[in-house]
């Protein structure tokens, strides 16, 4: 009886040693990471200056339709009649006819403002984030149409699947209180 009692004590002692080393390890881990901890959460966002409009945002997001959508930065818009983001390059007439529109889902609404200016509005419900209009606007116009992660739709995955698929490494983690990376956007 004495013998077995001694035995359990030894085992208990070894367990205790392991337990303390795990505790020390965890504390060491937290301590080692102290200067790398950010108190604020981060969210995913893409840098429009790096974006090449490859179209992978539309297909690689875990959400359907994608949480990445085209956002119109009106501050940069030139209100062009011939909008590179709205019309196909070879459209015969500048009308809202479906055959003239670049957007595959017809998500851009063109509205007459005054001669010769037109307002373009994105219907976020319809936008799939393919970036075709963004490419057109960037090539022919001011680049006021920009792809951005919409944070009401984004699930903020631990690892964004679009970020891994992005050919130009445009995705970064940004602080949650400054979650957009527009260019030319004036804050109101």
């Amino acid at each position: 009886m004495d013998h077995s009692g001694k035995k359990t004590n030894r085992r208990e002692f070894i367990n205790k040693c392991y337990r303390y080393s795990v505790a020390v390890g965890v504390t060491g881990l937290v301590g080692g990471l102290t200067n790398k901890i950010v108190a604020k959460d981060t969210v995913w966002q893409l840098d429009p200056t790096k974006c090449t409009q490859c179209g992978k945002c539309a297909t690689n997001c875990v959400m359907t339709p994608s949480a990445i959508k085209c956002i119109h930065v009106y501050d940069m818009c030139g209100y062009c009649d011939l909008c590179g983001g709205y019309f196909r390059p070879n459209s015969k007439e500048l009308t809202t006819g479906a055959e003239n529109q670049l957007c595959p889902t017809g998500a851009i609404k063109r509205k007459y403002v005054e001669d010769p200016f037109f307002q373009y509005e994105i219907d976020e419900e319809l936008c799939i984030g393919c970036g075709i209009c963004v490419k057109g606007c960037g090539a022919f116009g001011n680049g006021s149409l920009q792809l951005q992660v919409n944070h009401d739709l984004c699930k903020n995955c631990n690892q964004c699947t679009v970020a891994t698929a992005c050919p130009s490494n445009a995705f970064t983690r940004v602080p949650a209180d400054e979650p957009y990376l527009f260019t030319g956007y004036k804050k109101q």
Partner: protein, 428 residues
Amino acid sequence: MKKWLTLITLFIAMCLQGVEVGAQQQQRFPKPEFESGYTQPVTTVPAARADFLAYLDILILIGALALISWLILKKRSRRGVTWVSVFSLLYFGFFRQGCVCSVGSLQNITLALFRPEYSIPLSALAFFVIPVVFTLFFGRTFCAGVCPFGALQDLILLRPLLLKKWLQKLLGLIPFLYLGLAILYAATATDFIICRYDPFIGIFRFDATFTMFIIGGIFLFVSLFVARPYCRFLCPYGVLLSWVSRVSKYHLTISPASCTQCRLCENACPVGAIQKPMTEKNMESRPTAVKRFMLLSFVLPAMVVLGGWTGANFHERLSAVNPKVQLAHELLAGKDNNSGEASDEVTAFRSSGKPVEELYSEAAGLVREFYWGGWILGGFIGLVFGLTLTGLSVFRYREEYSPHKGECVSCARCLAYCPVSVKDIKNR
């Protein structure tokens, strides 16, 4: 009409000039000054999830862990565990929809440890550390019903089939491999494979890719009959918690007082974690014990080296997943034939203006990291195999039916099977 055609050609010419400059150029068309009193619409910028909610999650995690630990160890109530499971499934699963979870946070920790440019959010660190600390004190109570994956599988378990011991041991090796791979890929900033191949996140979100749904469906179906297939045969965080749980200070016990060896609980455990008593102490003869010890002390290092060597041999295969290495391969291949369409990656790289040599050296550095990572990963797997083998020959003297502290997920199902109650003992 002609006017427009000329305009379009003009634009195309402009575009050809302008493409290289990118989006940061000056505005080609200045914003007009409207005379009709037009007001520009506001650019829609939906806000991200508020910060304090992340802290609330941490508090809820601590609360749920404390509650379930109390329910398991003090109240000894399976019903309580079920209700906490339901809550966790609803809150951490369907409401929070997964990220960040404890299982995935393991990769954030690795990334923060190995990559200086990544700083870790407090919530990710908390989700990793808090369950580990609780496990150190109370066993795997996190697995029991706070982890939404575990809760989901546990709640739909219809008719648990007991697996054969050898099958259980064999499948139980997969999580180690998965853990090693996840750490390797996170440390090299390649990908978070635990998140990519997560089977349940699509179910929580009612939205996922086809493969995710298929994997999730298979796991759900299997977990109707085999208890917790993900937790036991895939979960890499479970490996860590199982290590910690082996030395936990307190742990669930089947009997509230002393085991009467009535054998009622023998088949109660859905995960096969109940150890039978080993009352017979048959001392092995000394020569065979020495022989076995000699053999094992040779086999174990040999397995580590063999595993490491195999891992290192696979390092190019392993590194081919890394996007940077992939890109470097593509560019190198393109140099030779120079034909065919350039991929999006190559186009994007060329337009970024980064020198190719820089990319090559970065990729070479990564491949070297994968070489050493392959050694470590393979060595680790070899060690795990070796230790599992060694474990088969270890017989530990035990008087009571007791849960295996590493494998037991503290689901508390066995408690109802034990006829011993504290009250009876007090009355006696």
